[in-house]
């Protein structure tokens, strides 16, 4: 032990050691030279100094290092001596470790990475939560999500509250605000883009500690009402649109038709505070009204309204102040504020309550979206690695048994047991490290393909994974852990040798069964159990996907091109807006290969929702008050384009675009609001309760999915002409039904829009079927990945099973020979082998079923149209596993039956 410390000290002070040794030997040689004046001896000195030093140094470093080098050499020899085993082990480890690394790369990307700003550890996010919809909030725009235990949570606050907090900060050393602006129309260098922007307070960049890549960033002077409009470009947008030209600073771009001066470019790698968003431009918060589609006056009001929640905030904790202290102070002030805005006693219930969250990683929207699926995937790849480890452990066990004689020899020659175990572990670590290195390539490929799967065609996919240092460290840890995991048990077993019997023992074991339940059998059973779990998971996800694909949407999604534009942002208003859309629609319809062209405010079944109040004069009292319906503003050819049939009455015609006001309602609508009457010719009112009921129902359309594929109860929908409510007309989607591949018309569409007005941006261009598939991207990804994982698990388990059975047969060749010599039939030998296997498989399957029964409920929320214990999936999985097991064992069983009794007995 003390030797080890001395050696350690040597390592730490190697330079000193070298100098000492050098001086000492020179001293020696000098003295010698003085004595016997022989020049040739002195000349030879230089070479000798190095040699003596080398030898002396070895005294310190030898043993441990040399033994290790020896073990490695020995291990490499063992690996090359058995190339098939090595290849199999390394390959399965590479797959297992690679898959783990890839998924961990994603987890690292969303859970562990800090924002690229100054001292991210100090950042805190201000959220609020409430047990129920807070009545004190009169207007809310932003995000809101269900927070498991606490009900509703949201990051949005009124602007006056931000001013209030900013005026007096005790717990925070900085406080800044921001808000999202989705879908800005950017026109730069005569190219129009639809892109996200971020409104930021004047101190945002300064307090985050972000530096400009060019020009300057937004400061407090820019964030004043009436200040000249300025914008900071994101690094990515600057590179894309301006090819990183520094002369971009000072140029003017048009944002929603407003000229804005570019003052700078933000730092490379900076994406705002929300890892899920990637805004192209940053604008001063108070310039928001300029870009609003609505009258600016409305927009200005939301800066003043004390009950309009929309702005988000982050702060920095003052050094020495804890999160809890800051939370106590800020929550008190927010409570006071919220109470001061209460206008009626009812609003006192469920007041929102401020709560702070650590903000080092930025906002957690990505985390909420992806952490659950990623944890499920992580669990799966861990299981795969476990199977791979069990496999290698099993093969090593088999090998250890055949190396018993070698071990006995080494132990009897005086090698310590610890030394032999160390050597065996070095061998398995060599395997696992080689596997891990190959695994890194698998991971690179995996990250790329999983990103592709998850992004699923989304242009602005922001979840990024890479082989960062933490990920590499994880891989290294995994390599060591797996190496020890699959190496230790076989090593212990191999060295637990009774020397005399071990030396005497022949290659072939003594006749008899396996030990009642050996480690090797347990490993095989475990592999079968784990494979079963993965196969069941794959079955569940594949059925979910096929259920989703077989849902009847009520419209034909094939051969439809869909895209989005917003001419209001390009400066068109009201009647002019309707005209430009009508013009475009005409021209799209005349594109060769386009059968018909339609327009709607939102596409069907991809997550949009637009509902409004409904009044029905003379409706039956049983319906109650406060009726609501979804509406879909469309053009006359929309229903025909989507191939939604009209069941009664008529569809829209061109003259319906002008007054009188009409609507086509769905079957669902008719059944719900007019249960026992004919709705045709009836009048309804849409909007708040004061709106006149002057819309005549002229037709009933077949119900089509409105919001999503998964929706169980399709909401009632009223189709109305898009020209009916010009105030609300803005962004629209065009649907083009084509004869062939819809994507072939994209260029023509872009040309037409460019000719009409080059400042109108076309976005979200895709085939409708693909666009709808994007909404079930998670399910598709799961089905595909899980099928891969299950196949992988089955293959690995098959190899393990085959190896274990083949080995058992080989060991018992002798016994089988005796049995056959005594007259046993071939089939009975075969049965003997298969029976053993079936016992193993049955116990593995039983355990697997038990575990699957209790764990699959964690994925219940990912399933559609079936329960987590779907009997069909379970029974098919069990059959599949049993068949695989028999297939894997068939070859060794046949070989057992073909044993030549004479050869087997002479084998000895």
């Amino acid at each position: 032990m003390r030797q080890l410390f001395r050696k350690l000290r040597f390592f730490l002070r190697r330079d000193q050691f070298e100098r000492d040794l050098e001086e000492e030997i020179r001293y020696h040689l000098d003295r010698k030279a003085e004595e016997q004046i022989r020049p040739e001896a002195v000349l030879r000195q230089f070479g000798r100094v190095a040699q003596v030093k080398e030898e002396s140094r070895r005294m310190w470093t030898s043993t441990l290092w040399e033994q290790f080098a020896q073990d490695v050499r020995y291990g490499i020899r063992a690996m090359t001596a058995n190339p098939l085993f090595t290849a199999m082990a390394v390959l399965s480890l590479a797959l297992g470790i690679g898959a783990n690394t890839a998924i961990f790369g994603f987890l690292d990307g969303i859970l562990l990475r800090d924002l690229p700003v100054e001292r991210p550890g100090e950042l805190v996010v201000l959220n609020w939560r409430a047990s129920d919809q807070p009545k004190v909030i009169h207007r809310h725009s932003g995000s809101r999500y269900r927070d498991g235990k606490h009900g509703i949570a949201s990051p949005n606050y009124p602007y006056p509250f931000y001013r209030l907090l900013r005026a007096k900060q005790d717990a925070l050393s900085a406080l800044f605000a921001y808000a999202n602006m989705w879908e800005l129309n950017l026109v730069a260098r005569e190219q129009a883009d639809i892109s996200a922007g971020e409104l930021v307070s004047g101190n945002y960049f300064h307090d985050l500690g972000v530096v400009p890549a060019a020009g300057r960033l937004i400061v407090d002077e820019d964030d004043r009402a009436g200040a000249p409009p300025v914008a900071v470009l994101s690094y990515g947008y600057w590179r894309k649109r301006y090819l990183s030209d520094p002369a971009a600073v000072g140029q003017v771009i048009r944002i929603n038709h407003v000229p804005v001066t570019i003052i700078g470019v933000s730092a490379p790698g900076f994406f705002g505070v929300n890892p899920a968003a990637d805004p192209s431009v940053y604008l001063p918060l108070l310039s928001a009204p300029r870009f609003a589609p609505k009258p600016a006056e409305d927009e200005r009001r939301r800066f003043l309204e004390k009950d309009s929640y929309w702005v988000e905030m982050m702060g920095r904790l003052r050094p020495g102040v804890s999160l809890i202290q800051a939370q106590a102070e800020l929550a008190g002030r927010f409570h006071q504020y919220a109470v001061s805005t209460v206008t009626s006693p009812k609003e006192k219930d469920s007041l929102p309550e401020l709560w702070l969250e650590p903000g080092a990683g930025g906002l957690d929207s990505l985390r909420r979206q992806y952490s659950e699926p990623l944890f499920v995937l992580m669990a799966m790849v861990t299981l795969i690695l476990a199977i791979a480890c069990a496999n290698i452990a099993n093969l090593l066990l088999a090998r250890a048994t055949s190396r018993r004689r070698e071990m006995a020899v080494r132990l009897s020659l005086g090698a310590g047991r610890g030394r032999v175990i160390r050597q065996l572990l070095t061998e398995s670590l060599l395997l696992s490290v080689t596997g891990a290195i190959l695994g890194l390539f698998v991971a690179l490929w995996g990250i790329r393909s999983i990103t592709w799967l998850l992004a699923n065609g989304q242009e602005n996919f922001t979840l990024r994974a890479s082989l960062s240092w933490p990920v590499l460290a994880f891989t290294a840890a995994l390599a060591v852990a797996t190496g020890v995991l699959f190496g230790l048990a076989p090593a212990l077993q191999a060295t637990r040798v009774d020397l005399t019997s071990g030396l005497k023992e022949s290659q072939i074991g003594t006749p008899g069964r396996f030990r009642r339940f050996s480690l090797s059998q347990a490993l095989v059973a475990a592999q079968i159990a784990i494979s079963l779990i993965l196969v069941i998971a794959a079955g569940l996800f594949v059925r979910t996907l096929s259920n989703l694909h077989s849902v009847q949407l009520g419209f034909n999604r094939e051969n439809v091109l869909i895209f989005n534009m917003n001419a209001r942002q390009a400066g068109y208003k009201d009647a002019a807006l309707a005209t430009v859309y009508g013009d475009l629609l005409d021209r799209f319809g005349r594109i060769p290969g386009v059968r018909s062209a339609g327009l709607s405010q939102a596409p069907l079944a991809v997550g949009f929702w637009n509902s409004t109040g409904l009044t029905i004069p003379g409706a039956s009292k049983t319906l109650g008050a406060g009726l609501e319906t979804c509406i879909e503003p469309v053009d006359p050819s929309f229903l025909a384009t989507m191939q939604i049939p009209i069941l009664a009455g008529r569809g829209f015609q061109q003259h319906d675009m002008e007054a009188p006001r009409v609507a086509v309602v769905t079957e669902q609508f008719a059944g719900k609001f007019f249960p026992n009457e004919n709705p045709l010719g009836r009048r309804i009112g849409l909007g708040d309760s004061k709106s006149a009921a002057d819309i005549e129902i002229i037709g009933i359309a077949k119900t089509a999915h409105y919001n999503s594929i998964q929706e169980q109860d399709t909401p009632p929908v009223a189709y109305v002409p898009y020209t009916q409510n010009l105030d609300n007309l803005g962004s629209v989607f065009f649907e083009l039904r084509t004869a062939g591949d819809p994507l072939l018309t994209i260029n023509t569409v872009r040309q037409i829009v460019h000719q009409e007005d080059s400042t109108i941006a076309v976005s979200g261009v895709s085939a409708l079927a693909a666009h709808i598939d994007q909404t079930i991207g998670k399910e598709i990804t799961f089905a595909q990945l899980c099928t891969c994982f299950a196949v992988l698990a089955l293959v690995i388990a098959c190899v393990g099973l085959y190896g274990a059975i083949a080995y058992a047969v080989a060991r018992r060749t002798n016994e089988i020979g005796i049995r056959m010599a005594l007259g046993a039939e071939r089939w009975s030998i075969q049965w003997m082998v298969l029976r053993e296997l079936l016992t193993l498989a049955a116990s593995g399957i039983a355990v697997g079923l038990l575990i699957a029964g209790s764990t699959t409920r964690f994925v219940a929320s990912f399933l559609f149209g079936l329960k987590h214990n779907d009997p069909a999936v379970l029974s098919v999985s069990v059959l599949l596993l049993a068949a695989t097991a028999v297939a894997a064992a068939y070859a060794p069983a046949r070989r057992a039956a073909r044993v030549d009794p004479m050869a087997a007995l002479r084998h000895e």
Binding site: R2, Q3, R6, K7, D20, L21, E23, E24, I25, Y27, H28, L29, R31, K32, R48, Q51, V52, K53, E55, S56, R57, R58, M59, W60
Partner: protein, 110 residues
């Protein structure tokens, strides 16, 4: 000229340890000198084996080292015996006696 015999394997440590008990702290050159003189020039310690041996003994904890000014006014590394080294010397001497005794019995057998 008769070649100088090599120092028998394994006995170098013993010779060094013994030298240090005799002469107290001593530098490498001094140790080599002492062995050579005491053996009347028969045993010559090559630096190629002396310094590795001294390092090994440092590892084992049989000797410790210290830099001092030598008799010719230069810095030199002086080695001195530790209690552990003293015990080791006793062990080696015992072992050596037994082996020598045995060898001489074999070769004197008539």
């Amino acid at each position: 000229m008769e070649t100088r015999p090599d120092i028998p394997a394994g006995t170098l440590y013993m010779l060094i340890l013994k030298t240090l008990t005799r002469r107290g702290p001593l530098h490498g050159y001094g140790i080599a000198q002492h062995i050579q003189q005491t053996s009347e020039d028969i045993l010559q310690v090559e630096e190629g084996s002396l310094y590795p041996a001294l390092q090994r003994m440092l590892v084992k904890g049989w000797v410790t080292d210290e830099w001092k000014i030598s008799e010719n006014n230069r810095r030199a590394r002086y080695y001195s015996l530790t209690p552990e080294g003293r015990k080791q010397l006793a062990r080696e001497l015992r072992h050596f006696d037994r082996v020598m005794g045995a060898i001489s019995r074999v070769i004197q057998e008539v």
